[in-house]
């Protein structure tokens, strides 16, 4: 009887005791999304991407445009040759500590940003090194057999050359069009195709943003959202721009599962060119809603230096990673990355 009582006291003491002995040395610190600094004796689990862990560099991707290998036909037409290799066995750390099997064009999600001028002959030498069938389907104007839907390219080295004249002017997506289509898209087989007008656009600091998401647990809902794949990346690595300089963003929404996505800019409004097909802007706004593969060109410039957010105003998406910062510097003289 006494033993039993002692046993009960003993057990309850053991179970309550750990609470009293929690005074350990605390070393690491981190900042919460609301700016509070927290200390811990353990490890930090924070979607904070550092350069050493990047498989894919969103900074590089942001201002990178592929113009292909240029040659000219007898008639003087510009020919741009690209080699695109599809793979489907890569495991990428798409957010710190979270690994996902990405399917890639040229090793990255999104694939390379292909850029040509209206009327150029674009030749895509497509090689499928994946284990499954893949294709490349470009949005735009081309012949039926270049549509990448019925011309399935088998895995293990299958080849196909897509050939078409670049057009119409604007910003378009390209993606794999093998069934089940949703699966091939959400794994990462997509990219951006920009067609410049012959007369060119005004000089600007140009960047490309693919709004995408990842369903890492395959429940037909995205676990992560981002501009250019890595959640919260541009929040921790603000995009540096200058006051008084024209900024041009080619935005393409590749989010699946959710019917809409959107783009909200802080402290400013942008001129919006839907699909970029017209040279006159349709809207002057700070909020554009985009459905699947809907895209456009945004142009703006900042008058005041400082930090400005840009994010989905579908706040769920921004709290799952689709959120970034422009760091506007007061420096009118700077390099302007306009590609060609």
């Amino acid at each position: 009887m006494v033993c039993l009582l002692l046993l009960v006291i003993g057990v309850s003491t053991i179970m309550v005791f750990p609470i009293f002995s929690n005074a350990q040395s605390e070393q690491k610190t981190f900042v919460t999304h609301s700016g509070v600094i927290v200390r811990t004796s353990g490890e930090i689990i924070d979607p904070l991407y550092t350069v050493s862990t990047v498989d894919f560099d969103p900074d590089k991707f942001l201002r990178n445009f592929e113009y292909g290998v240029v040659s000219y036909s007898e008639t003087g037409q510009t020919i741009r040759d690209y080699t695109i290799i599809a793979e489907d066995d890569k495991i990428q750390e798409i957010s710190p500590g979270v690994f996902y099997n990405v399917w890639t064009f040229n090793g990255t999600v999104p694939g390379p940003t292909i850029r040509a001028t209206e009327g150029d002959l674009v030749r895509i030498h497509f090689i499928n090194n994946g284990s499954k069938s893949h294709t490349m389907h470009f949005h735009g104007i081309h012949r039926s057999e270049m549509d990448g839907v019925f011309e399935i390219v088998g895995g293990g080295g299958g080849k196909f050359t897509y050939e078409f004249e670049a057009g119409p002017v604007g910003v378009h997506p390209y993606h794999c069009h093998v069934m089940p289509l949703e699966e091939h898209i959400v794994h990462g087989l997509y990219g951006v195709f920009i067609v410049d007008p012959k007369e060119g656009r005004a000089l600007a600091d140009e960047m490309v943003m693919v709004l995408n998401g990842f369903d890492t647990d395959f429940d037909a809902e995205n676990n992560f959202y981002a501009a250019n794949t890595i959640p919260f990346y541009y929040q921790h690595h603000p995009i540096q721009i200058n006051t008084g300089e024209l900024i041009r963003i080619y935005v393409v929404n590749m989010v699946e599962f959710d019917p809409v996505n959107n783009f909200h800019l802080h402290g400013n409004l942008y001129q919006y060119y839907p699909t970029g097909t017209d040279l006159v802007p349709s809207f002057y706004t700070d909020m554009i809603t985009l459905s699947q593969t809907e895209r456009g060109i945004m142009e703006f410039q900042y008058d005041f230096p400082g930090k400005y957010l840009f994010h989905a105003h579908k706040v769920e998406f921004s709290e799952k990673g689709w959120l970034g910062l422009f760091l506007v510097k007061n420096n009118s003289k700077s390099e302007v990355n306009n590609g060609n």
Partner: protein, 392 residues
């Protein structure tokens, strides 16, 4: 002769060991290096969120790796919105290892929250909290609070129940058998109630890897057997220990009920700790009414011995005080695993007591359990318990 004996003994030991050697060889063949016989399928990681505490500006999540392989916790979220967080001691969890995830978050009182954790393969596990409430800190105030509640729920009702003793003392033998049978009815209900509660906790909060149903069955049977053995010894030695057989039986009943009340204390403590304050008020009222019948259960066998107030109070304490300890453990250090264990032990203890009382009725009475007084007592015992349990 001597050597003969020795060799036969050695032979016996060897023959006992030989099968083990073959078992080891078999395991080595199946699991050993280079064995790819069972290398099929993909082991899926699994984690279980066992506990969520709301403290000032932070949510504390206790997580256990309940899958077949080590996992890494990569991300935390609140209501499916990603939050930076800390994990202590570290994010790598071996099988069955636990860690504390601290999510800085300005939570709102009484609002529901879903806490999610994502592992390195991108799979998200979640747990819903119906109403956020400040986690209890084991300070003097709350220790005293639970002691008072435990007293109300455990000690006082049992003591009140014991007041029926003089009444039971004065009644005829068949009426006495009626009350003994009533006691078994009450206890059977309590036993079933404990098992049900254990299954509920197991299915809601215990990971499948603990094999909750069989954990309950195993613990229950072990508890039953252990206490049965102990009580046989105790009642057998009753004379030499200078306690009468009724007191020995009363003591076993008190121990069984005590273990059960510990489980009830756990339930109340956990309900308060998990923020279901209104629910716990009902629990307290219900348990208090319910538990007066437990006093009756202890009183019934004792009524045939001498009236010993001191011993009676002692038995009342054994039955009632564990509710206080249960409240402390449930409120400050709740874990579904320990709750299931205690509830199962309590159930085993109660079933053991039922067997002892039934044996006693048979020995005392007409060697049968089908007399009108026994059957009606048993039935009414169950009915009383059901009626009072609706109040919970």
């Amino acid at each position: 002769m001597e050597t003969n004996k020795k060799t036969s003994r050695n032979k016996m030991i060897v023959s006992g060991i030989v099968p083990f050697i073959f078992i080891i060889l078999m395991m080595a063949y199946i699991f050993g290096p280079g064995a790819d016989l069972l290398d099929l399928g993909v082991p899926l990681p699994e984690i279980t969120i066992e506990k969520v505490d709301f403290v000032k500006s932070e949510i504390h999540v206790t997580v256990r790796n309940t899958g077949p392989i080590p996992v890494q916790i990569s991300m935390a979220d609140v209501n499916d919105r990603i939050q930076p967080a800390a994990i202590e001691p570290d994010k790598f969890l071996e099988r069955y290892e636990t860690a504390l995830v601290r999510i800085p978050f300005e939570w709102n009182e009484a609002e529901p929250y879903i806490i999610g954790l994502t592992t390195d393969d991108g799979v998200r596990f979640e747990k819903q909290i119906n109403a956020a409430a400040t986690a209890l800190q084991p300070n003097i105030e709350f220790v005293a609070f639970f002691a008072i509640i435990g007293t109300y729920v455990g000690v006082i009702p049992v003591m009140i129940g014991l007041l029926w003793l003089p009444f039971i003392k004065k009644i005829s033998k068949s009426k006495y058998h009626f009350f003994l049978a009533l006691t078994t009815g009450l206890l059977l209900f309590l036993g079933i109630d404990s098992v049900k509660e254990a299954f509920d906790v197991s299915s809601e909060n215990l990971s499948g890897s603990f094999n909750g149903e069989l954990l309950i069955a195993t613990t229950l049977v072990l508890s039953f057997l252990g206490l049965y053995y102990a009580s046989e010894k105790l009642t057998g030695k009753a004379d030499s220990l200078k306690i009468s057989k009724p007191v020995a039986i009363g003591l076993m009943i008190a121990i069984g009920i005590g273990l059960h009340n510990f489980g009830e204390g756990l339930a109340i403590g956990a309900a308060i700790g998990l923020g279901s304050i209104a629910f716990s008020t009902f629990l307290i009222i219900g348990f208090a009414l319910h538990n007066t019948t437990e006093g009756l259960a202890i009183a019934a066998p004792l009524s045939r011995g001498k009236l010993m107030v001191g011993k009676l109070i002692m038995l009342g304490m054994i039955a009632g005080v564990p509710a206080i300890f249960g409240g402390w453990v449930g409120g400050f250090a709740y874990s579904p695993f320990s709750a299931v264990i205690f509830l199962s032990i309590g159930a085993g203890a109660i079933f053991q007591v039922i067997v002892i009382i039934l044996k006693w009725i048979r020995e005392e009475g007409e060697k049968n359990l089908s007399s009108a007084s026994v059957v009606s007592g048993f039935a009414i015992g169950m009915l009383i318990m059901y009626a009072t349990s609706i109040l919970i």
